[in-house]
Structures are given as C-alpha cells and as structure tokens.
C-alpha cells in the first residue's frame, strides 16, 4: 500500500512540473501588456515612467525562463506573489475565496448525494418501472441542463416570483438563506450524474452470483438488497465523491458568477477580466493542486476500501 502511494506521488512530479510550466506560460499568449493596462490612468493616458517602475517591481523586465524559475522557486516556498490590482498577497485572496467555494461545495455535495443515493438505488431495484424511467429521464435532463440557466430559473422562481430567498449575494459570511439557491444549482447536475452511476453499480451488484445464492438460500429480499447488494454497490461512492468534486469545482465558475458568491470561480473570472496575471497563475496552481490531491486521495482510499483491488495488486 505504501509502495503504491509513493509510486503515485512520484508519478505526479513530472505532471505537476508540466502543469506549472503551462500555468506560467499561458498568460504570455495573451495580447496586451499588464503593466500598461494597470498603469493606464482614468483619462486613458499611459505614464511611461510608472510602467517602467511597475515592470521593475514585478520583475517583468527579466527574460522569461528567469521569470519562470523565480516564480517556481517562490511557489515552492508557498509564495504566489502579489495581486497586481490590490497589491496584497495572492495567497490571502485565494484563502478567502477558497473558504467560500468550500462551503458551497460541501453543501452541494451533501445535497446531491441526498438526492442521488436513494433515487439511484430505488431505480435499480425497480428497474424499468415507471419510477425508474422517470428518474432516468430526470437524470438525463439534469445532465443536459446548463447550470447557468438552472441558476437563473431558480432565481426567477424562488427569488422573484415567490420572493422566498435572496436572489444573489454572500449574506453574512455565506448564511443558509444565501447558500440554498447556488447549492441547488450546483448540486443538481452532480446529482444527475451520481444517480446514474449508483443505479448502474447497484444493477451490477444485483447481477452477481452471490445475490442468486442468497436468494436461493431463501434470504428475504430486504436482506438481499440491504445487506448483500447495497454494501457492494456503495463502494464506488468514494470515487463518485471524487468525481463530484471536480464537477463542483468546474461548476463553481459559472454558479459563483451568477449568484455573486465570492469564491475561487468568481475570483478567476474577475482576475481574467482585469488581466491580473499573478492572481490567474495563483488560482490555476491552487485549483489544480487541489484537484490532483483529491484524485490521489480518492484512488488511494478506493484501493483501501475495496479488498478485491487490494488483493489483486498484492498477490
């Protein structure tokens, strides 16, 4: 097991280096000079002196590969640089934004599992029943529905017509009232994906020989499903949680923008719009590291939980 973990981490090193090169160099494809953009006065004039000073201060006058090495070195020391706009450390911005995104993701994740697990199981047990068909049609719709559209529809229904919930905003540090609509918006898509996965995993478990054996022994259907099938069907839930995490992280870009939720998704969109390069790089590195770590943890725990996989590799 430890060998496996070490191997996985070693494999990650070249990939992460490549990720860092991409994150660093991506912004140099962009037209427009950040120094000039940021030193443009309200009258639209650029002051060449302040542009020079800015370049000097931010190290933008050095050759590219030197800039990359300096950036990578700082990165390894946990220093993501300073936001061009606010002049505050990028890491501080990211920390604050991550808190908001994390809160939203956790609520959405619980919401999506609370919807998907029961529906997925019932659909599998009552395969091809009207209930199953309804659930799966609903799942198809949920997968295909643009989350920005769903968000706006919920806003229209609950925020404007029924006037029950605030239309947007973070409220008092992301309180319940403000989190409900963005969490439903984010959670619906992942609930649809999850329900399908749980249904097929449950169907697979129900088709196994040990289920037939249990039934042949005369075990009651309740025990067959609850004890034998369900236990095996829920193993992939770990993977599903990991998959969901990527889904939620990606969804946060749009959902946070619609609902004015001050998380990582909105931070990166705002930073792109004002070409705050340090912030864009910082966000990319942070989000990717997060994503890679979650996937690693999912892989490891999956092997740990499912003895079949563990023994296969040990033997």
């Amino acid at each position: 097991m430890i060998d496996y973990i070490l191997k996985r981490i070693l494999q990650l090193i070249p990939v992460l280096l490549l990720v860092s090169v991409v994150s660093f160099s991506i912004i140099y494809f962009a037209p427009g000079d950040p120094a000039e953009t940021l030193c443009t006065g309200p009258d639209g004039n650029v002051n060449p002196d302040s542009v020079e000073k800015f370049r000097d201060k931010m190290g933008l006058d050095k050759p590219l590969h030197i800039q990359y090495l300096i950036w990578l070195n700082n990165l390894l020391h946990g220093d993501l640089g300073y936001s061009y706009r606010s002049q505050k450390p990028v890491f501080n911005h990211i920390k604050t934004a991550f808190r908001a995104t994390f809160k939203l993701s956790v609520v959405s994740l619980f919401l999506s599992l609370a919807i998907a697990i029961p529906l997925g199981i019932i659909s599998a047990i009552k395969q091809n029943s009207p209930l199953d068909v309804t659930c799966m049609v609903g799942a198809s719709l949920g997968v295909s529905m643009p989350n920005f559209w769903l968000g706006l529809l919920l806003m229209l229904l609950f925020g404007i017509y029924l006037d029950l919930l605030p239309v947007a905003g973070y409220g008092d540090g992301g309180d319940l009232e403000h989190i409900i609509l963005p969490a439903i918006t984010l959670g619906t898509g992942s609930a649809a994906v999850t329900a399908r996965l749980i249904r097929s995993s449950m169907l697979e478990a129900l088709g196994q020989d040990y289920i037939q054996t249990a039934r042949a022994k005369g075990v009651s259907e309740r025990v067959v499903i609850g004890k034998h099938a369900l236990k095996n069907a829920l193993i992939p839930v770990v993977t599903i949680v990991g998959l969901n995490f990527g889904y939620l992280l990606n969804g946060s870009v749009v959902v946070e923008t619609i609902f004015g939720w001050p998380g990582l998704g909105r931070l990166i969109i705002d930073s792109i719009n004002i070409r705050d390069y340090m912030m864009i790089q910082g966000c990319m590195v942070f989000v990717t590291l997060l994503f890679v770590l979650v996937n690693l943890i999912v892989d490891i725990s999956y092997r740990y939980i499912d003895p079949r996989i563990r023994y296969e590799t040990a033997g």
Partner: protein, 291 residues
Amino acid sequence: MKPQDSGFMHLVTRLEESRSATIGATIILLICLSAVFAPQLSPNSPTKACLADRLISPFTEQKYPLGTDHLGRCILSRLLYGARISLAIGIVVVGISATVGIVLGVVAGYRGGLIDTTIMRFVDATLSFPSIFLAVVIAGLLGRGLASVAIALIAIEWTSYARVARGSVLSLKEQGFVESARSLGARDSYIMTRHILPNIVAPVIVMATLGMAYVILSAAALSFLGFGSQPPTAEWGAMLNAGRVYIRTEPHLTILPGLAIMIAVLAFNLLGDGLRDILDPRQIDQNGNSA
C-alpha cells in the same frame, strides 16, 4: 473478425434498437435542418435592431412569434441562427480534437517508448486542470471571440480521444490479425490506417457524440461568461447573458435561449448514450434486452 463489424454503417442500421438513440437522432436532425434553413425559416433578420419594437413578449405579436430582445431583435430568428453557431463550434472542436487526439494516441500506443511517455505526460497534465478553469483562462486571455473558445475547448477535448485511441491500440497490437499483417511485411503506416483505425471507429463515434453535447454546453457557458461570441452575433449563451438583465420583467429572454441549449445538449447526450448501449454488449446484458 472483419473491421467493418463495428463500423459506421453497422451502427446506423442498429440505431433503432435504442429508443433514446432514435429520439436523440431525430431532434439532432431537426436542429440541423433549422440551422441549414435558418434564412428561409426566420421571420426577421437575426441581427437587425429595431428599437421601436424592443422587449415584446412572446405570442403577442404575429411579426415576432417569440418576442424581441432589448434591441428589438426577433428572438425566434436569433434562436434559429444560433443553432448554426452551436453546431459549427461543436463540429469544429470535436473534429479537430478527435483527429489530433486519435493521431497522437495511435502513434503513442503503436510506437511506445519516449514518444508514448511524452504524449501521455501532456495528456496527464491537461487532465490535471479542472477543465472549465483551463478553458476560461485560455479563452479569456486569447481575447474574446468564438475562435478563442474553440481553441480553449480543443486544448481540453483532444486528451480523451488520445487516451481511448492509445488504449485500443495497445490491446489490438497483440492480436492475431495485426501480427499476421506485420509478418507479411506490412508497413507500420499501413497497419495503423488499415487495421487499427477501423477498429477504433465505434468507440470514437460514441465519444464524439457525447463530446458534441459537452462542447455545445461549454461553448455556451463561455459565451455566457462573456468570453465567446460578441454582439451582434446570435449565440444562445450570449443571448442568455444579455437577457438576464431583464429577468424580472422579460423572463422569456432568459428562458428561451436556455431551453434551446438544453434541447441540443440533451439530444446529443441521448444519441451518445444510446449508441454506447448498442455497442457495449455487457450493458445490454444487464438490461436484459439481449442474451
């Protein structure tokens, strides 16, 4: 085992086996027809503003069946022309990604060694980024416009084709018919195009169909965020973004373009899922449709 067995025509003839595939294919056909015949079907110009007719609700005036937007442009016409943009960007992105991905994947799998390692490291690195974050950064920094969106989505999409192509090649490489071809003295390029490629057509068709759904949805999302098509182009995501300002008074500006996106995405998802069921015998077993 003839390569045509899992080929394109075979799939088409078996399409009716799956209800979802049939429904999906029908809707896609309708969308394609409305895109092609948009000039004939549209009651008005999709881009001509007429401020006197601004913000008309749907089903109230015969001249504008689905109402008008904040600049007095006909919503129905814009939706019909919008189908062109969504389909075009889907076809371009999926076409280029599949070609690039398959070529790199087949080469990586067939050659192995350093070429394989290099290509697959790039795939791994690309897959390490949460896709939408990477897409908004690329699209946002390249400058606004549909070309930037297409480049951003290609940069993400090619990886899945490369992976599948490489995986299939690795398993095919060891099979009898490839070995016989090689022992008969066939060149690598001949084996790759005549023996390997026909055998990965089927999974690629499924991926490309589901990929169309993903690309249409993502392109609309990027346009919605302001990175994609620019005014006055009629694009569904951009229409939704412009319309949401009027959500309180004119909700149809938000509802209709979103509905169009969802129907298009749903159609490709249904077709893709249906095709996968047809191609994957294991899944058919589970559903009890076939022994």
